[in-house]
């Protein structure tokens, strides 16, 4: 079961090639739901953020509003904003 109202998701620039835009909307009651919904519409995007053990990848940060989230089971509400951020490093 998913929330009826969409959640706004900000997309990090390296992932805009999937979405075509840096702001998209997704449905879900948890962060995992939201990412699955994104992957259904933008195939491949989830695996580039989340590994096969369901861990957020090393250089990806995800925030719900102002709080960094590490657990895909974290709940989200329709008024929340999800921020997917790339932690740049290296040369």
């Amino acid at each position: 079961m998913t929330a009826a109202a969409p959640i706004e998701v900000s997309i990090a620039s390296p992932l805009v090639s999937y979405t075509g835009t840096d702001k998209v909307q997704a449905l879900g009651e948890t962060l995992g739901d939201v990412l699955n919904d994104l992957d259904a519409r933008f195939p491949g995007i989830r695996f580039r953020m989340i590994d096969e053990q369901d861990r957020i990848r090393k250089h990806i940060r995800i925030f719900i509003n102002d709080e960094q989230v590490r657990d895909l089971a974290q709940s989200v509400r329709p008024a929340d904003q999800v921020w997917i951020v790339q932690a740049l490093s290296g040369g």
Binding site: M49, E52, Q53
Partner: protein, 415 residues
């Protein structure tokens, strides 16, 4: 392992083999003609770098090259391979420093790309256990000609994967990825190469789709005779770093293994500890690198073989002393070639800088084409792409200022 050998040439060639090559050439050309591939069609170089991929389209003389790229600018491309079975499907192993790994596919030479919907990924670990994560796909190998659309991939950390739909979806292949013994031989991520331990050199016997090899750095060389149901090590005769136990496969570091297309019973290997040859059905590798000049040694990463002559192979020695600089020895780059299956080696450096050239060439970054004479190509980590149209006798630089080159492959395309 009873297999009919297709070897047609004696190893017993004299050191004057180079002088007699013109006679052999006509025999080779005739043999190649009988297989319908005496001359290549338009050549293609697939250059994978730390910051993207480039295609170099050659004319039939392989002297003029038209560059097409970058593709995937900024993405780490570890390998790019064109399927020789259809000459149109090309797979690219990609990742970035920040995103997870994936596979891209094109069937129109890069005009359009399709991403794998299920890239290589390890099985999800059971609750309470720590599962492995594919950091990047390192190696791509098209399967046997009788299995169109099938590909194999080797990953970092070491994992073996198979696609049956031309690279769109991938599944773990065989029991290797989770087998406790193989996991022990793979070691930890600290045991591998600087940017992660790798499975590479996935080789399919052209006579038998069920007969395969792979190599692991670290972890040794392995073989299956039954399509991956069972694997066995193939490391007899291979040396390891002094002081370590060669019986423990975690200490084995094969850098690059090649099978001779003209004789699939012959393999060559550039190992961390020397250059080797293996003639099946023997399981004993012979260190042919001992015939290299003593001041050069037989350390290196890439190795390529002649497409039609199992006595001919090339290596690119690098400095493996003290802290392993992995650079051209004394700053004087040279390819070394053998025309007698490793009994002797000839220095091939015409056209290279004569000093102060500290090149490093990675294990996938050297390749041979199907031409006659054979074209040889390699890319340096300093972004230079070098070519020889005459089997290494002379060299010219066909591109400079590329990003760090990770892999060079050749391909033939129609037209």
């Amino acid at each position: 392992m009873a297999r009919k050998s297709v070897r047609s040439r004696s190893e017993n060639k004299s050191k004057s083999v180079l002088k007699s090559r013109s006679k052999k050439r006509s025999a080779k050309a005739a043999a190649a003609s009988s297989r319908g591939r005496a001359r290549p069609s338009a050549g293609l170089l697939l250059v994978a770098t730390r910051k993207g991929a480039w295609l170099y389209h050659g004319d039939r003389s392989r002297k003029q090259w038209r560059v097409d790229g970058p593709h995937f600018l900024g993405q780490i491309i570890n390998h790019m391979v064109l399927d020789p079975r259809d000459r149109r499907t090309m797979l690219v192993a990609a990742s970035t420093g920040h995103l997870g790994p994936t596979i891209f596919r094109t069937i129109d030479f890069g005009r359009s790309w399709q991403e794998a919907t299920r890239p290589p990924a390890f099985a999800k670990a059971a609750e309470g256990q720590v599962g492995r994560t594919v950091k990047h796909t390192f190696w791509l190998t098209p399967a046997h000609k009788d299995e169109p659309g099938v590909w194999y991939a080797g990953t970092s950390p070491q994992g073996l994967f198979r696609s049956e739909d031309g690279g769109l979806t991938w599944e773990p292949y065989s029991s290797v990825n989770d087998d406790p013994q193989y996991r022990a031989w793979m070691g930890t991520e600290q045991d591998g190469t600087p940017d992660g331990p790798k499975m590479h050199s996935i080789i399919i016997d052209p006579r038998d789709a069920a007969h395969m090899y792979f190599a692991m750095s670290s972890g040794g060389v392995h073989e299956t005779l039954d399509g991956g149901k069972h694997w066995r090590p193939l490391v007899e005769g291979l040396e390891v770093v002094a002081g370590f136990d060669a019986k423990n496969l975690v200490f084995h570091d094969p850098h690059c293994v090649r099978v001779c297309p003209s004789n699939p019973d012959r393999l060559y290997q550039q190992n961390h500890c020397g250059i080797y040859r293996l003639d099946r059905p023997s399981t004993l590798w012979k260190r042919v690198g001992k015939a290299m000049p003593a001041d050069i040694g037989d350390v290196g990463f890439p190795m390529v073989v002649h497409p039609r002559d199992d006595a001919v192979a090339w290596v690119l020695p690098m400095d493996g002393q003290t802290v392993w600089p992995r650079t051209s020895i004394n700053g004087e780059p040279a390819v070394y070639g053998t025309w007698d299956a490793g009994k002797s080696w000839k220095r091939l450096a015409q056209g290279f800088p004569k000093s102060q050239a500290w090149w490093t060439i990675k294990r996938q970054a050297m390749a041979a084409d199907m031409g006659d004479p054979v074209g040889i190509y390699f890319g340096t980590t300093s972004g230079e792409l070098w070519a020889s149209g005459n089997e290494g006798q002379s060299w010219n630089c066909i591109a400079r200022h590329l990003p760090e080159i990770y892999a060079v492959e050749t391909a033939e395309r129609d037209g």
